[in-house]
Every structure is written in C-alpha cells, then in structure tokens.
C-alpha cells in the first residue's frame, strides 16, 4: 500500500474540513497528498459550432482558474506544514474522475468533504461523496 492520499477539494466550507483532516493525517503518517479538483464536464453535451471552436481556449482558462484559485492555495498550505503535496485539475464526471485519478496517481485512499450539496440538487443528482463511495476502488473517508 502506498502512502499517498488523494484529497478532493471544491473550495466549499465542507472541503475546508477535509483539508484540515488531511493535513493532520499527513503530518502524522508522512503521506504525500494529491490535491484534486474536478471541473464538471460531460463529453455528451450539445454545443454550438462556435463553442466547439473556442473550447480548447476555454478549457485552458477553466483549468488555470481552478488551479490558481482552488488547488494552489491548498497545496501551498500543505507544503507550509512540511507535507509533500501536488495538485491535479481535471474535467469530467466528479465522482468517476476522482476514482480514476486515485488509480492513476496510485493513491491508497481518498479524503473528501461533504461538498455542501444540499436539498433538491443532491436529491436528483446524488452527492459527489456518496457516488464516490459507491465507485471508488480504494477506501474513501468522508469528512463531515
């Protein structure tokens, strides 16, 4: 088993708690933390031709924005605490992509906050954390 944690973040208060928890765990165990953010995206949506033509550009903008405003601050915080940390931003279906990222980065477990989805939205689409628990091939810790 590798000593690597995949930490899912989304900038919400819920993920703040997960970050704190990951920081403590990594400090105690010396684990490496991979901070991951998934930009929700489906390959099966319908677009106008113009949107398609600009897609590459937009994608880079989305990744840059997510990296600088969500992922990088967390990585910096972890590094400051002396933890080996790296960031990952990817497009896709959140739960599925997090599960794939865990496999790809060889993480032995995933930490995720309850990402603050409440009410109707989570009733219809399910929460990311709950979906991840169902699909992940490594242990998932949901931080309340």
């Amino acid at each position: 088993m590798t000593n690597r944690i995949l930490l899912a973040v989304d900038g919400s208060p819920g993920s703040g708690k997960a970050i704190k928890f990951a920081l403590e765990c990594a400090k105690n165990s010396g684990a490496k933390v991979i901070v991951a953010y998934v930009i929700e995206w489906s390959p099966y949506s319908f677009n106008t031709p113009e949107e398609n033509a600009e897609r590459h550009q937009r994608r880079n903008q989305e990744i840059d924005r997510a990296t600088s405003s969500i992922v990088d601050p967390v990585v910096a915080k972890l590094k400051k605490a002396g933890i080996d940390a790296a960031g990952q931003v990817r497009h896709g279906h959140p739960a599925q992509t997090l599960a794939e990222l865990a496999q790809e980065t060889d993480a032995s477990q995933i930490f995720i906050g309850r990402l603050g989805e409440t009410g109707l939205k989570s009733m219809i689409f399910g929460s990311v954390a709950a979906n991840l628990v169902q699909t992940s091939s490594v242990p998932v810790t949901v931080v309340p």
Binding site: P43, F46, N47, N52, A53, R59, R90, G92
Partner: protein, 501 residues
C-alpha cells in the same frame, strides 16, 4: 454594445419597407442573374428522357469514387465510428476538449432540418416512391465523401494564436494544392469556396430557414400571421442576434439540447404512424423497390427517380458541399482520420435513418389512401400524412420545424463566419459586421418572396461542390495513406481503448 444595437436597429428598419414594394424591385433586379447562374450551375443533360443536372452527376461520381477508392470505408468504419463516439478511445487526460460526440452532435444539428421533413415529400411527389431507394443509396455513398472532407478539415485546419481553430474546405483547398506546388490555384480555390459558403450561408442557411419557419408558423395559425412576416422576422432576428452577437449562450444551449430530442421525438412518432399503417407496410416497401427499378409514372423512369433521390439526399446531408468539415475541424485530435470516421455517421443518421422514416410515413399513407394529402406539397404533405393518424401532430411538427430551422441558422452562421474570416481576417470588428448582416437577412427571409435570391444562393452552394470535390480527388491519396496507417495501428494494438469495457 450600444453601437451594435443601433446598427442592428438600422439594418432591420431598412428591411421593413421590403414588405411594401422593395420586394418586387429586388426580385425583378435579381431574377435574370438568378436564372443565368441557375442555368450554369444546374446545367442539365438529357438522359433517357430525364434531365440530369451535371452538378448532381459530379457529386454522385465523386461519392462512388471515394467509396471504392477507400475500400468501402462507409461500411468498414461504421463500428469504429460508434466506438469513437461512445468515447472508448478518449484519453481521460484530454477531458474537457471537444469530444467526438459533441462534434458529431453539432454537425448533425446543422444538417437535420426541413429537408428531412419537407424535402423527402418533394422527392416522393416528383420522383415517386422509387426516389426513396436512391435517396438511401446516395446517403450510403455520401458517407464516404463526408469521411474524406472531415479528415481533411482536421488535417489542414488553422490554429489561431488565441487557441481557437478555423478549418474547412477553404483551408484544405489552399494548403493542399499549395503542397502540390499549385500555390496560385490553391489560393483561388480557397477564396472561391469561402465566397460561396459565405453567400450560401445567407441563403440556404438563413433566409430559406427563417422563411420556412414563418410559413410553418403561419400554417399552424391558420393564416393568422399573414402580413405579419416582418414581426416574425424581427423576433427571429432578435433571437439569432442575442445568440451570435450578444453571446447569450443559454438560448443556443437550450436549442442545441432540444433539437436532438426533437429529432428522436419525430422518429418515434413517425415509427408509430408507420406501425399504425402496418397493413400498408409491405406494399409501401415493395413500391420503393419496384419504383427504383422501373420508375413507373415518373418523368424519365428509373433514371428520373434516381436523379431526384440523389438531389434531395445532397440537399439534406450536405455531403460534398464541405460545410460539415468546418464544424468537425474544431475537434482536437492528433488523428484526423478519427474525425472522418465519426462524420460518416452523419449521412447515416440524416439520410438513411430520418429521411427513410419520413418516406415510409408518406409511403404507407399513400398506399392506404392515395389522395390523403390533397394538393399539399413539401412539408405540408408530410404533416398531412401524420395528421391522418395523429390529428394533433401538425402543431408539434411545426414547432420542431421552427427549432430545426433555428439550429440550422446557428450552424450556418458559423460556416458563413468562417468563410468571412478566411476572406477578411479574424478581427472582431469584421466578425461583428458579418453577424449583423446575418441577422438582417434572417428578418429579410420572412418578408421577401424568396424566389430569385434563393435560387442564387442555392446555385452557389452547389457551385462550391465543384472546387470542393476537385480538391477531394487531389487529396484523396493523402487521406488513404492516413486511413491505412491509422487502421493498421488499431489492428496492431498501438492505439488502444482507454475504457476496457
């Protein structure tokens, strides 16, 4: 933004008086030109008592050539096309780029339109049930033409400094001929194509669509919109304006989302009507085959049916016109062949599936009741065939027709824009001018009698098949080489599936 609005207002005001008088002036002025261009482009040679337009022959020979030359890629590539669209070969690291599915969906939204509903009825009226057989055959062969076009579109596209892409026939014609040492000729062909697609976008892709949308709305309203063409035109222009100039993506998003469902909705109810006519199915299918071989009751017999079928198929799936190649160029892939393979599904969906279903709805109705449509022609005839079984259907059908027209306008606004930027550069100001012009034509389409203007645009769209297919012949060896290399790497396992399902 304010200045743009004022400009649009002025343009629209200019179009208003068109309803009173200018209409005729425009028609009178353009009619002789339209006639001349039409005669040249649709130059007909008499063949066994039927008139065969040369341009249709040009398209058909091209499609047969590419099908044979590429070893029936339309059959061989079919399964792989579905795997690509499903995302089996999609690298998760590239998630967020335009997927094969999205490129296909966008291109299909541009081609599925009034032609699938009304055009088929025209084909059956003029060419008899046998025209359906040739329509399907043309769709089948057209798959190969699309494959070549879209592969080349991706291979020779331009990547702009800002990361966006511009591609399509004007780029592969220019660069492809230039590569073969025919620099001047390539430039000429590229420019020629760009002008043609630009003007075609204002006609077939714009005025014709807004006009047909108005006609359908008026039909459903029982003629209540007579004389209100200017109002409908203004509303449509405003909606198109808000999408292509105002960048209100939500309207486009909504349409692009509804159109596929409308297409499915249409097919489902068409199948229901066909099933309700089930006793007529064997006779209707029999008529399609015997009609194709004998051409009974059709001017020019079987050849006449063949010509009509092929012509309507091209109108509907645009194979050989090169427009889809512009839409497909947006996909970011290292393998241009993948986009070509995906695009061959387009004539399949558009012509072989949707047009055939429409033809069967009409065919089974005809068998059951030969006089079902009365004098109705075109889309009204299709509507009557549905109405025989489902009395409420004309209303959703008209709604679908309007949406199809709208999504076709959005797609063609982009094709025309790419022709424009090819000619005048990528400056934002120039693009805005083009978009305003496009909106003005949307309004105009509902007001003027289309006759001559439409003929010019129609002729021009067919005229650009000439340089396009000529270019395809020249560049076909490159496509073949790429295709063989790609499929060899699939065979050897060098290109692997990412999802192991």
């Amino acid at each position: 933004m304010k200045r743009i609005l004022i400009a649009l207002g002025a343009l629209i005001l200019l179009t208003l008086p068109a309803s009173a008088g200018i209409d005729e002036t425009i028609n009178d002025a353009t009619a002789p030109i339209a006639k001349l261009i039409g005669q040249i482009v649709f130059f007909k040679i008499p063949l066994f008592g039927a008139d065969l337009p040369l341009v249709v022959l040009w398209l058909v020979i091209g499609a047969i050539f590419f099908t044979v030359y590429l070893g029936f890629i339309n059959v061989r590539g079919f399964k792989h096309a579905i795997e690509l669209v499903r995302g089996d070969y999609a690298n998760p690291k590239h998630a967020g780029e335009v997927s094969h599915f999205q490129a296909l969906a966008t291109a299909v939204s541009g081609t599925v339109g009034i032609g699938n509903i009304g055009g088929v009825a025209v084909a059956v009226t003029v060419g008899g049930p046998g025209a359906t057989f040739w329509l399907i055959m043309a769709g089948f062969l057209g798959m190969s033409t699309k494959f070549v076009e879209c592969t080349l579109g991706v291979k020779y596209r331009n990547e702009n400094p800002d990361g966006s892409v511009s591609g399509g026939p004007m780029y592969y014609l220019r660069k492809g001929f230039s590569e073969r040492g025919m620099d001047g000729f390539g430039k000429f062909m590229g420019t020629f194509y760009a002008i043609g697609i630009f003007i075609g976008a204002l006609g077939i892709g714009n005025m014709f669509q807004s006009n047909q949308a108005y006609v359908q709305l008026n039909n459903v309203a029982g003629g209540g919109l007579d004389g209100f063409g200017w109002l409908v035109g203004l509303i449509m222009a405003a909606v198109v304006f808000s999408v292509i100039v105002g960048g209100i993506k939500s309207i486009a998003k909504v349409t692009e989302k509804i159109v596929p469902f409308m297409a499915i909705f249409y097919c489902v109810f068409a199948l229901i009507v066909i099933l309700m006519n089930f006793t007529s199915i064997p006779a209707a299918i029999g008529n399609i085959f015997t009609g194709a071989m004998t051409g009974e009751g059709v001017a020019g017999g079987a050849i006449g049916a063949l010509i009509i079928g092929f012509q309507r198929a091209v109108f509907s799936n645009e194979a050989g016109i090169g427009s889809a190649s512009i839409a497909h160029s947006a996909v970011r892939t290292n393998e241009p062949v993948t986009e070509g393979v995906v695009s061959l599904l387009e004539p399949f969906i558009d012509t072989i599936v949707i047009c055939t279903i429409t033809a069967l709805v009409i065919g089974t109705s005809q068998v059951a009741d030969p006089g079902f449509a009365g004098d109705a022609k075109g889309i009204a005839m299709t509507s009557a065939a549905f109405e025989r079984q489902l009395s409420w259907f004309p209303i959703p059908l008209a709604f679908a027709g309007v949406l199809f027209a709208f999504s076709t306008m959005i797609s063609w606004s982009y094709y025309g824009l790419k022709g424009w930027t090819y000619l005048f550069g990528e400056s934002m100001r120039g693009q805005t001018i083009y978009k305003l012009l496009f909106c003005a034509f949307v309004a105009l389409g509902c007001v003027v009698q289309l006759g001559p203007i439409l003929e010019i645009s129609d002729a021009l769209v067919f005229l650009i098949c000439v340089p396009n297919i000529l270019g395809l012949y020249f560049l076909a060896p490159i496509v073949k080489k790429e295709m063989n290399s790609y499929f060899a790497r699939i065979e050897s396992g060098e290109i692997k599936k990412f999802s192991n399902v």
